[in-house]
Symmetry: C2
Subunit: 153 residues, 2 copies
DNA sequence: TGTGAAATTTAATGGCG
DNA sequence: CGCCATTAAATTTCACA
């Protein structure tokens, strides 16, 4: 199922990506639409599942997590399933993607320091073979493409 | 600089990660704190830069972007800098991380289909050597560790 | 820092072009 | 689909503990 959005919907998404707490009234002012119409469109975006959720970007460095790494994992047999079932045991793993290619999984981990990393690797080794890359910096860009039709509820 | 949060702050962050549009009144109800105190804490989190921004998670599949891939890049000389300077020319690249290890950059790309991928690879090749992994699925988990001190403005 | 109350703004709903 | 008007709820501000 592919849903096409009109310009209003795209503008709303762009605004919400930058500040998801803006009032409907204020969003409406920016895009020249009434409160009620703006609210209805936001609710349509949520109801259609285009907006998965309203969230918050946290700066973990300020909380003492100064080390961000990508750990790629290789597994034998079905150890992959054991690992994903145990993911809750690894609070430092923030995302876990299953991918094609040399590695089975690529995880993003938020860590305090290198001894925290060492500890994590020790806990990963029973499941498979981890390969660690330290994330030096990140450029984050959010973009949505334009279509021209109105979103239906 | 490391900032420590108390239980109220942690609960607020957890709640906002799940629904960043909840009213201060409602958050306050959940954590048993008044509207005004809750609002002040959220504003402190923002002022301290712990909350980078309130955002929205978009389901791109519903917008016709059915293919998500990780593309790792190798570069010669300083082609790496040319590429990052030109990132705006690649609207399908959503994140771009500089990492240590075999590859210089790892990018996440949101694509419509395999011909879109082919087109992207053609545009990447002038900069460096891309290696593509298709993202089959993703498990996303947000967690914050507990400390016990009060956040200061 | 937290609470409670008053003034202002926003959200939610329903009727109408 | 969008606008306007009405009622309910939330935000903001401030005095006080």
């Amino acid at each position: 199922m592919k849903i096409t959005l009109d310009d209003f919907d795209h503008k709303i998404l762009q605004i919400l990506e930058q500040n998801a707490r803006l009032s409907y009234a204020e969003i409406g002012r920016i895009i020249s639409l009434s409160q009620s119409a703006t609210k209805e469109r936001v609710m349509n975006l949520v109801d259609n599942g285009i907006i998965r959720r309203f969230s918050v970007e946290v700066d973990y460095r300020k909380l003492g997590y100064d080390l961000k790494v990508l750990i790629s994992m290789k597994f034998k047999n079905d150890d992959f399933r054991k690992f994903t079932a145990d993911l809750e045991k690894f609070p430092e793993i923030v995302t876990c993607k299953r991918v094609t290619g040399e590695y089975c999984l690529i995880t993003e981990c938020i860590l305090q320091d290198s001894s925290h990393l060492e500890n994590l690797i020790d806990r990963l080794i029973p499941y498979g073979i981890p390969t660690t890359s330290i994330q030096l910096s990140e450029i984050s860009l959010q973009k949505i493409k334009s279509n021209t039709k109105r979103l239906k509820r």
